[in-house]
């Protein structure tokens, strides 16, 4: 299954579910809940953090979190 980290820059997907995530509570509180639409803005080199847009704001999170957030395709282009 695809993860948030596997998204290409500037593509949109819907969050489906979560793997074993240490920081899940905070991500959920920030609105990263299943069904929410996210757009991947960019990844920093060498496996650094990624920037996403969720709802109406921008968020950064680390690769180890982004690889445990599973996504499904969104109908939005």
């Amino acid at each position: 299954m695809k993860t948030l980290y596997s998204l290409n820059n500037n593509s949109i997907a819907k969050i489906s579910h979560f793997g074993d995530l240490k920081s899940m509570t905070r991500l959920l509180e920030m609105g990263m809940i299943s069904g929410a639409k996210v757009r991947l803005i960019k990844k920093t080199p060498f496996g650094g953090p990624v920037q996403v847009k969720i709802n109406d704001y921008y968020l950064i999170l680390r690769k180890e979190d982004a690889t445990k957030i599973y996504i499904v395709n969104s109908n939005e282009k």
């Binding site: 920081s23 509570t25 609105g31 650094g48 847009k53 704001y57 950064i60 680390r62 979190d65």
Partner: protein, 702 residues
């Protein structure tokens, strides 16, 4: 009817709480465009229409389930309001960023069950008109809160409305309101019933609060441990939680883990839907800031620009400051000379001119440089650029045993280590926070600046390399670089010996770029300058006076002895054997002793020593005096370029700031770490200075 009321300002980080607190109180607490600038509760009294009101500004928080030390301040406050009605404030002023309303309502939804009257401020109304987003009247009715006010802290819009609303709330003497909060469905109630019953049997709390707490405990084990129950209740709750989870089948488990946030966002979405909410900013929309970031956080260009910017800042400290510095210098000299001519000769005049004016004046002259450095630092933070730096540098910082959020403390460390150490509270990792604190004093702060500038100005020739790099500026950058590189290397070393106590990660909001508010920049600069001058006025003046006595006494037959034979001279001679291998003589030794209190004191110390030594009538120029000083034993100059470099290297590393150690003691809750800090820094200073001096001698410098 009571006459004293308490209001608490709460909201998400970077939503503008402190700016609103400043507007209401007239205070100048630091505001910025970086989440987590306020790290502890700040209180102030205001009067609205003959009523005394205590206003509390809390750190920003996304939830009562805190992730870092600054957020736990908020968690503890809210939990105490839950367990003890008497500790509740009379009202909550909840600041919500209207450009990002939905997420801002999450923390809000956790406050609703308290049934404290709430005034909601829809801040940033100058950027997005709240009426375009939501029907405010309906929103107010659906949450059943006291009032909702469109607000703009930067344009001061809504301030009068807020004041009259506070007044109205105080006057209605409303002690409890009935907020419309999340209601559990009957199936969820059944699921949580065992937890509900345990709490209900032990404490008298409202049904709403118990329901909310059971939900929060159910979805987070660590949160339960922070609650106000005694240990046996906690154990019961956790055992019960485990039991419920064990009987649920695997398919359900996934949705159970996200139950609380799903329910809360479900509740928020329902209220928003009923209040005609229009999500105007879609996920696919590219904001202006995002376009700017295509360059500024570009994976290759971004870090290059950042390093270039740093180089520019440190070069400009040297370039732009020279004119105002010369001006202050001539002002101090002519002031000293005037005082000299107008006072009758005697000890009092000597104390004033050679002790106080020479000592304090020697340090005040560095104000322009500190202002320039502060100005750039404030700009980087207030525009929102620092959050981008956190994003770009996180990976590299982690390689060095630090955290992306260590960047802001390190950058503020160039101004002063103390605010830097305090701002490490936002780092959620215990280990990475401690490592950041331990290496922070190696970052060259503005107190080293006077030392560098004096030594460079006097002994490094003002020439250009390749007609482009000023040698003086370059040496300065090298000093900064030396401290910074060592800091990173040691961070890596320290992190090898410490073990992690928490689960660190980096989850951070990237705010839009904003133009800095000129007034706020100006006020921060004034505050910083005041601090520097008051410091100069207190510590440096006291040390200057004490030093003048030590340098001028004992007197033999009413005549001053040579400085070398004075009390201070004897102290200097006492440590001279230890510091001689570094190229330092006893005069520098006196400076090293006095500068343990604060680094810049070494400059005032040298200034006082040379002024007392000088028999002439006028104030002397410290640079010239140092250049012309000859060691009578060897017949050579006391100060040479090599000695100057050795002194600077010593100051890069030496532990010389009492205030820093005091802060490290409070922030780490132990004397162990400040002691360790003094030990490793002193050893490093001695070794590095020894190496530089002797390597220089070997290369043929004198």
């Amino acid at each position: 009817m009571k006459n004293k009321f308490e209001f608490s300002i709460l909201g998400n980080p970077n939503s503008g709480k402190t700016a609103i607190f400043n507007l209401l109180t007239g205070l100048n607490q630091k505001v910025s465009n970086y989440p987590g600038i306020t790290v502890e509760k700040k209180s102030s009294n205001i009067r609205i229409n003959n009523k005394d009101i205590i206003l509390n500004d809390y750190p920003g928080s996304y939830s009562i389930k805190s992730q870092s030390i600054d957020e736990s301040v908020v968690r503890d406050a809210v939990l105490s309001w839950m367990s003890n009605i008497d500790s509740q404030p009379d009202g909550i002023i909840y600041v919500a960023d209207i450009t990002n309303l939905r997420r801002n309502l999450y923390f809000f939804s956790q406050l609703l069950p308290l049934d404290i009257p709430i005034i909601v401020l829809l801040n940033m109304s100058d950027i997005v008109d709240p009426n375009q987003v939501v029907d405010i009247e309906k929103l107010k009715k659906n949450f059943n809160v006291f009032d909702i006010i469109p607000f703009s802290a930067s344009k001061k819009y809504g301030l009068e409305n807020l004041k009259t609303t506070i007044e109205r709330l105080v006057e209605t003497n409303l002690t409890q309101s009935i907020n419309n909060s999340l209601k559990l469905s009957s199936s969820n109630k059944n699921l949580l019933k065992p937890l509900f019953d345990i709490i209900n049997n032990h404490l008298k709390l409202s049904k709403k609060i118990i329901e909310d707490l059971s939900l929060s405990i159910f979805s987070s084990e660590s949160f339960c441990n922070k609650l106000f129950f005694n240990d046996s209740v906690k154990t019961q709750l956790l055992n019960e939680r485990k039991r419920i989870l064990s009987v649920i089948d695997n398919d359900m488990l996934q949705s159970i883990r996200t139950l609380e946030s799903d329910l809360r966002y479900g509740f928020i979405d329902e209220v928003l839907y009923k209040s005609d909410y229009k999500n105007i900013k879609k996920v696919k929309l590219e904001s202006k800031s995002e376009k700017i970031d295509k360059v500024l956080t570009h994976s290759i260009l971004g870090p290059i620009l950042y390093v270039g910017l740093l180089y520019f800042i440190f070069q400009s400290i040297f370039t732009f400051a020279s004119v105002p510095m010369d001006f202050i210098d001539s002002l101090v000299t002519s002031f000293g000379n005037n005082v000299y001519r107008n006072l009758p000769s005697g000890m009092f005049r000597d104390l004033i001119v050679d002790g106080i004016i020479a000592g304090v004046g020697g340090v005040v002259i560095f104000l322009p440089q500190i202002i320039i450095l502060m100005f750039f630092m404030i700009l980087l933070e207030d525009t929102g650029y620092m959050t981008r730096v956190t994003f770009m540098m996180d990976k590299y910082m982690r390689m060095m045993g630090l955290h992306g959020k260590s960047i802001l403390p390190i950058m503020s460390g160039y101004a002063c280590a103390i605010p830097g150490i305090i701002s490490t509270r936002t780092i959620d990792s215990w280990k990475e926070r401690l490592v950041t604190i331990l290496i922070l004093p190696l970052i060259s702060c503005s107190a080293r600046l006077p030392v560098y500038v004096l030594m460079i100005g006097a002994f490094i020739p003002n020439v250009y390399i390749f007609n482009f790099f000023a040698l003086q500026g370059l040496v300065m950058v090298v000093m900064y670089f030396l401290g910074t590189v060592t800091a990173f290397i040691l961070a890596k070393v320290f992190s090898k010996f410490l073990s992690e106590r928490s689960n660190p990660t980096l989850i951070m909001e990237i705010p839009p770029y904003r133009l800095p508010i000129i007034k706020s920049v100006y006020k921060q600069l004034i505050n910083r300058s005041k601090l520097f001058l008051v410091n100069a006025g207190k510590i440096i003046m006291l040390i200057s006076i004490a030093l003048w006595f030590l340098v001028s006494f004992p007197k033999i037959d009413g005549e001053s002895v040579q400085i070398s034979d004075s009390y201070a001279g004897k102290m200097g001679h006492l440590i001279e054997p230890v510091i001689e291998p570094l190229g330092f003589d006893w005069k520098i030794g006196i400076g090293l002793i006095t500068s343990f209190a604060a680094r810049e004191v070494v400059v005032s110390t040298l200034s006082t020593i040379y002024n007392v030594e000088d028999d002439g009538d006028d104030m002397i120029n410290l640079k010239d005096a140092m250049k012309n000083d000859i060691n009578p034993k060897t017949g050579k100059n006391v100060f040479t370029p090599l000695v100057a470099v050795s002194i600077m290297v010593f100051f890069v590393y030496a532990a010389q700031c009492v205030a820093t150690f005091a802060i490290v003691r409070t922030e780490t809750n132990s004397w162990k770490w400040p002691m360790f800090m003094i030990g490793y820094m002193t050893a490093l200073a001695y070794l590095m200075s020894y190496f530089v001096y002797n390597f220089g001698l070997y290369l043929g410098f004198s």
